[in-house]
Symmetry: C2
Subunit: 443 residues, 2 copies
């Protein structure tokens, strides 16, 4: 088995189909491990990551060297280069995150429900791993231990395909991980790295051996993967998040939240793209808000009413702006006529990711939280909180914009499913057609 | 709004896109209704169904008349004709089922989880409706009130497309439903019937206005819908269910369960297609089992070892038999070498629907329930129990063979998702980058 693993890991001759078949086999073993066994392996992995710090940083240096000409040629951004960089501190952080995943409660064999269907016939709905999960991601190599640890904790085998620019770092990280699996007596096939774009194309067809595919990347990337995949896909196409400043908002709070939601990390999917402001307060709120945004380097694009209030320095927003995820230091601003208008705008243009209302009026806030159809609905907090770590999920394998299976940041629970266990004593359905009644008693 | 509803309902001129847009609007209202309001409407619908019995049965008589020549020509089976037939008793049963859905606990606004992220910053994971659900089904008109009641109880708008053979009956049923919605002060767009195949083709593209598509029908039908749809699909392609008679089985129980699993309703997806028998007991168990199966009209196809034990009346099973859902009075039989062999066979050929072990050995049973990767794993009970009503879910919108979102019979829970509500007091993510720590305290 380790020879097979080396093949896929080492020289990439073996394709995605063979890797997935081996992952499926490994997943059967993983599903049977105790929480203790999975946690012990995670703690060992954290230790081995720390011990391999030098080797990981050296591999990363190779990737950074290869990136230099790309940055000079302008085909790689400084931000992407920054995300690629791994320091001694980063390795220590990775190890700590792996330990924090080990500390989370066991997501497996949880009884979700138990019903006595009849005397001596008991139905139990119980969590179990999905099986094999594939994650396709770009640049950030810290995804490797993060996703691998969530997968191991939840008893899933994992197939990873990272960006070419991080190839050496990813190899070093997965190498450490596979060594740990072996040392823990587990199949090395439980975590495998795929190598080529051809592997990804092949992967999309493998719905028999891969249960879930998570693309982490830009909108177009996710869209293409979703369209082509026969495997169920969870990911997010876009994040058009709104901050709505209600007429009863505390201006100081509103300003701080808007600035955080736009500036903390503009490229993130949970950054705000549009600011909605109630007409009643817009003349008092907008001038200073726009001034502060512009001072922070944000380009502001406003509706007609916004531009009437702040005539200079605000470009005209077009219909297209409301539907755009800038991912950059740009913010569109619209004056709305109260809560219903704000909600209607959000439902028309939002992507169902994360939406915030800023108000001192609890009734308005509760209506917003109930009526807005999005994975995250916030009162008086920045949209940037939409993140697995901040939510207390330990980490995330991705963020789902869909409504099925998992919504918002996906941690361990998104990597599990359930099965119905029925324990009987010889019952047939025919018995219940000849008069016998179900008890359907919750246990 | 009611004029619009009539348009789609009455003459079919309005297409699926317009129907879905109206359903989306209706779904926003439905999501805000209280449990009481939804239950009151359900109880009223049950009453109106009973009152409309004559009208429903008359509409059904029209469908039955139209079906007669098809049955004579052999293009419609007697079984299909039987499923189409609605009696006074059937209408009473429908009404009773709608009432039983009203009695179920409210699936909405359930707190799945609550975490204090920090003092004054509380995250709540709470159930909410999916929004708009479309169900495409064949023949059985009782699907209409069953699915419509589950949708209403869970706050979802519904688009239904039934088979042409049941057109009059479906129209009569949805007519009663829509009248009830109006009488209850709800939008008539909350339940709409689509009319043509063109509507279905159009529907598959409407991923913005339809959240979930459930095809109920044959394997090829589900496969085609899944391949073409941009909307997430839950359904089941096939049901290749096994009954495994372990060496420590009680023969009498095993026989009764095998006969029930094969004979109770051979066309159902939860009927058994393959019988696995441990080699240790096969010489004693198989002769009588095969005799009983054959006496009941079942064609038996066996592996070499089976045919060596029961030389006459058993055809040779080929590789293809193990992978076939007969949906008919045919059963394939294989002699296996114990639990591991049985599980390996199930994982190779099973469809992850429902798998049963018959044994008096609890250890073997527990291993089977834990290791077999299927939506239903049964000990000493017939695979035919895999059904929403029998599971105590009240009814089912379908059965899912997938592992994501819903697995096995799907009731109300499969029609809900959740949202994360975050209630803060002005928090920004920036605060937590300058030293502030999350508490992540479960509430």
């Amino acid at each position: 088995m380790s020879a097979g693993a080396n093949e896929a890991h080492g020289n990439g001759e073996s394709g995605a189909a063979e890797a997935a078949r081996r992952a499926r086999r490994a997943s059967r073993q993983l599903a049977m491990l105790s929480d203790q066994q999975r946690n012990d392996a995670l703690l060992l992995a954290a230790e081995r990551l720390e011990e391999s710090e030098g080797q990981i940083v050296a591999a990363n240096a190779e990737d950074l060297r290869a990136a230099e000409p790309l940055v000079r040629a302008g085909t790689m951004s400084q931000a992407m280069l920054a995300r690629l960089h791994i320091s001694e501190k980063s390795v220590a952080d990775m190890a700590e995150r792996v330990r924090s995943v080990a500390r989370l409660p066991d997501p497996l064999r949880r009884k979700l429900n138990q019903t006595e269907l009849d005397s001596g016939l008991v139905l139990t709905k119980e969590t179990c791993p999905l099986g094999v999960v594939a994650v396709v991601f770009e640049s950030r190599p810290d995804v490797v231990p993060q996703v691998a640890s969530l997968a191991l904790k939840s008893g899933n085998a994992i197939l990873l395909k990272g960006g070419r620019e991080a190839a050496h770092t990813n190899e070093a990280l997965i190498g450490v991980w596979i060594e740990t699996l072996r040392e823990s007596g587990m199949s090395a096939d439980a975590a495998q790295l795929l190598h080529s774009r051809a592997d990804v194309a092949e992967l999309l067809e493998l719905d028999r051996d891969v249960d879930l595919l998570i693309p982490r990347g830009g909108r177009d990337f996710v869209e293409i993967i979703s369209r082509q995949s026969r495997i169920p896909v969870l990911g997010h196409g876009e994040g058009i998040c709104h901050v709505y400043v209600h007429s009863a908002a505390d201006f100081e709070k509103a300003e701080r939240i808007v600035l955080d939601a736009k500036l903390d990390y503009p490229a993130a999917c949970n950054a705000a793209e549009t600011l909605l402001v109630d007409a009643a307060i817009a003349p008092r709120f907008l001038p200073r808000m726009v001034e502060n945004l512009r001072a922070a380097g944000v380009e502001v694009r406003g509706c007609e009413r916004t531009r009437a209030i702040v005539p200079s320095g605000v470009d005209a927003a077009t219909e297209r702006d409301w539907a755009t995820e800038y991912g950059d230091l740009i913010l569109s601003v619209k004056v709305v006529d109260g809560l219903d208008h704000a909600i209607a705008h959000i439902h028309q243009y939002g992507s169902g990711h994360t939406e915030a209302i800023i108000t001192g009026d609890t009734g308005a806030a509760e209506r917003f939280l109930n009526e807005v159809d999005a994975a995250g609905v916030y009162h008086n907090a920045s949209t940037r909180f939409a993140d697995g770590y901040r939510y207390g999920l330990g980490a995330e394998v991705g963020i789902s914009n869909g409504k099925l299976h998992a919504r918002g940041p996906m941690g361990l629970e998104g990597l599990t499913t359930y099965k119905y266990k029925l324990r009987g004593s010889g019952q047939t359905v025919g018995d219940y057609k000849s008069g016998r009644k179900f008890t359907h008693r919750p246990l």
